[in-house]
Amino acid sequence: MQSLKSPVKTSLLNLYQVKNRSNNLLLVLLVLLVVGLVLIPIFYLVTRASQKSLTQIQELLFRQKTFEVVATTSLLVLLVVLLTAFFGVLIAAGLHFVNLPYFAALIIVAVLPLAIPSYVFTYTWIALIPAFSGFLPAVFILFLTTLPYVILATLAGLRRVDGSQIEVARSFGLTHLQIFFKVVLPQIRGHISGGVLLVGLYTMSDFGAVSLLNVDTLTVTIQNMYRASYDRNAAAVISLVLVALSALFVVGDERFKSKTLRNKSIKTTSVKTYSINKSSYQVTVFSTIFAYAVFAVLVPVYVLLSRFISNPVAVDWSSLLSASISTISVALFGALIALILSAPIGALLSEKPTYFSRFTNRAILIGHALPGVVIGLALVSFGSKISFIYQTTFLLAFAYALLFLAKSVASMTASLARVPEGAKEVAATLGMNKWAVLKNVVTPIAAPGIALGTTLVFLTAMKELPATLMLRPTGFETLATQIWSSAAISRFNEAAPYALVLLLIAAIPTFILSRPDKADKPLSTQEIGN
């Protein structure tokens, strides 16, 4: 882009700061634009909720039921978060440090459940055990669906752990566990917290699993208000309760993250420093991942396949193909828009934290807890007024970007936080302006986080259902809508091919993302030499 402009290098640092002001204005404007877009659903909710009188709102907020539902939702989130944090870090650390057989297969299996829609997950478990219902099964299902968020985020962090520190620790004779807790964990807290954040927000927003398992969470209450009394304004009031709860969660997560060690130096390589060959570790990690694979991949695939085999239907190949192409293209389109929208956010968050950046981060995250149906209706409300974009693939892709922007931002921030201030200053004295610094210094370091975020958006957009049903062009079918339309009339056998293709497609980016050889050298010496 723009490179050296002034030959006088001594004054360049000053110039950098001066230039930054105009750049800052542009950045702030871009960020405000993105935040404005992200806040569309919240704006919609406030507008709707304000149609209710104050006393009606009070009644809704302070009735017994609201307290119960908030309590159930909070407890659900808490349990799922704790379980995923524990097992996610265990699995990720195991994959990273322990020498395991069938490594590639294990890593794919550990991430694949991300591609299975939670309602399919739940259906298949209910098909296996008809009495599967209630709070603990919901914890179990949501734990299974969201675990990959923590695994992926932790893996991304582990790849950036300073190997030399581990070497030093080993030379002092620390045990593996001591090294992990004293050297590794403090460096990856930010990444773990990014993953946990997504887990918590997802759990709050989930409708598929909790509704099928008969657990009364905020999303179920919201949905019931649409279904039972077609009262959109009451649903908006309860949705705002959900927004408030997610805000609390986001702030709590920030506290946890703030204890992360920030890098002070540029790390040149991130070689896999050591791999543990102890059999007790190998058995523990392997069996944990194996159990996860059985519960989260084999059970759904087995149930779907056995339904399909016991009552085979002629697979409609052309509809399968067109649904696959539609799914991939619109999800990619959405991931691309999310990437573009998150660029200014990333630039802002890579700076020293300010009130503005904190506000931005929160604004983007809190909307993430809203169920798809609310975001869908908000965009219906806005989009239907602009007839030339309403029910086009563009609006659908845009909806995906808004729905999942938090995923790319949350994945990015941990990586961005690791960009050492010193590196940026050095680059500035070399005559780079802000954008050049962003491009040449920040982006390479944040690349894994950005790739992770974009892939997460892609994967989750592929299985998104409620907003897709409302915003897709009429007649446009994705794999998720096809699965839904068969499952809605109990034709699991017809849904099976679509669900299996969804898994296959999801395996590809998952594999690329987690390819061990790639992971070990994100910053090769040649790149540094450039």
Binding site: T122, N214, D216, R227, D231, N311, S384, L469, T474, S490
Partner: protein, 334 residues
């Protein structure tokens, strides 16, 4: 995509030009329908109409209640010409906001008036009956009324789906007809009798087949649907309560035309098609639902609506299930 947009702009232009002269309505080439009825059941019917009329149908499949919310949100900007719903409640919500245009007499005239909105905002298309599905080898004495289900012989045997819309519609009818305190006591007695809750009707039927429970309250077509889906006969059959018992409630799927649509004539044509004798017969054989036309035979192996003896109730009353849900919450079933 762009073609569609241009076409949209073009047809709007055409429309503004032609609205002045009412006599020659523009030749309609496309019709948009929001369908809460599943694609697997309804698509073949739409296919026939497309071929007969030469009009292309753009069908948006979704959940009935969510589609209703979407239409309410779109308001006058709705691209939909028709709304075909799985249940009367979703149609009622659109009707309350006066977004339907009432159908003239003579449209869908084979459908008896009791199965439509009183002002003919929407018209019933097919019916489903509430039944008890049961395993005949384990349940030798079948219940005569819903109150019988609270008897000790059904202890720990009965399954219901409290979150399901059809169950809630049935319970709404109980509240409307017998009063809230009766309904509450009945639910509490069921609980005392060890009633089991399941997520869906189809899951109840599967649970009966597997022997987890022996009897369950579902819609009449689930036994057939589950057996089709599993690809084998199952050990579950339908049973009916005595004539006029609320357990035999009838609920309908129905259709209405959006007032904002400028393709009223083509839409009326589609409604007449769906309620014609030939197509109603096809519904019965292919989706195992009941036709609302009295002269048409019931689904295979099932008694006629007259034999079932459904309780008479204004379907419009089933719209607001809020009280019903509150009751279910109160007794701890939701």
């Amino acid at each position: 995509m762009r073609k569609i947009i241009y076409f949209g702009l073009f047809s709007t232009l055409l429309l503004t030009l032609t609205t002045g002269c009412t006599a020659a309505s523009p030749k309609v080439s496309e019709l948009t329908i929001y369908s809460g009825r599943a694609e697997g059941f309804i698509a073949p019917f739409f296919e026939i109409w497309q071929q007969q009329s030469g009009i292309k149908l753009n069908v948006r499949y979704g959940d009935s209640a969510e589609l209703a919310a979407q239409i309410l949100e779109e308001g006058k900007n709705s691209p939909a010409d028709l709304f075909l719903s799985q249940d009367a409640g979703s149609l009622g919500a659109i009707s309350t906001e006066q977004l339907f245009s009432p159908l003239a007499n003579g449209v869908a005239d084979l459908i008896p008036a009791q199965y439509s909105q009183t002002n003919r905002d929407w018209i019933g298309v097919t019916a489903r009956v509430r039944v008890f599905a049961y395993a005949p080898d384990r349940i030798t004495i079948t219940p005569k009324t819903i109150t019988d289900l609270t008897k000790p012989i059904y202890k720990n045997q009965l399954a219901i789906a409290p979150t399901n819309a059809s169950f809630q519609a049935f319970l709404t009818a109980v509240i409307e007809k017998k009063g809230r305190s009766f309904a509450k006591q009945w639910l509490l007695d069921l609980k005392k009798n060890g009633v089991k809750s399941y997520a869906k009707n189809s899951v109840i039927v599967e649970a009966i087949d597997k022997g987890e429970v022996s009897i369950g309250l579902v819609n009449h077509y689930y036994v057939w649907e589950v057996s089709e889906s599993l690809g084998r006969p199952i050990n579950v059959v339908n049973g009916y309560f005595e004539v006029n018992d609320l357990g035999n409630l009838i609920n309908v799927s129905g259709v209405g035309i959006l007032a904002s649509s400028n393709k009223q004539e083509a839409a009326i044509d589609l409604i007449n098609f769906l309620t014609s004798e030939a197509i109603q017969n096809k519904f019965v054989t292919e989706t195992h639902e009941y036709s609302l036309i009295q002269s048409i035979n019931p689904p295979k192996d099932l008694p006629s609506l007259a034999q079932v003896g459904a309780p008479s109730i204004d379907l419009g009353l089933l719209k607001n299930i809020k009280n019903t849900q509150d009751l279910l919450i109160e007794v701890g079933l939701l």
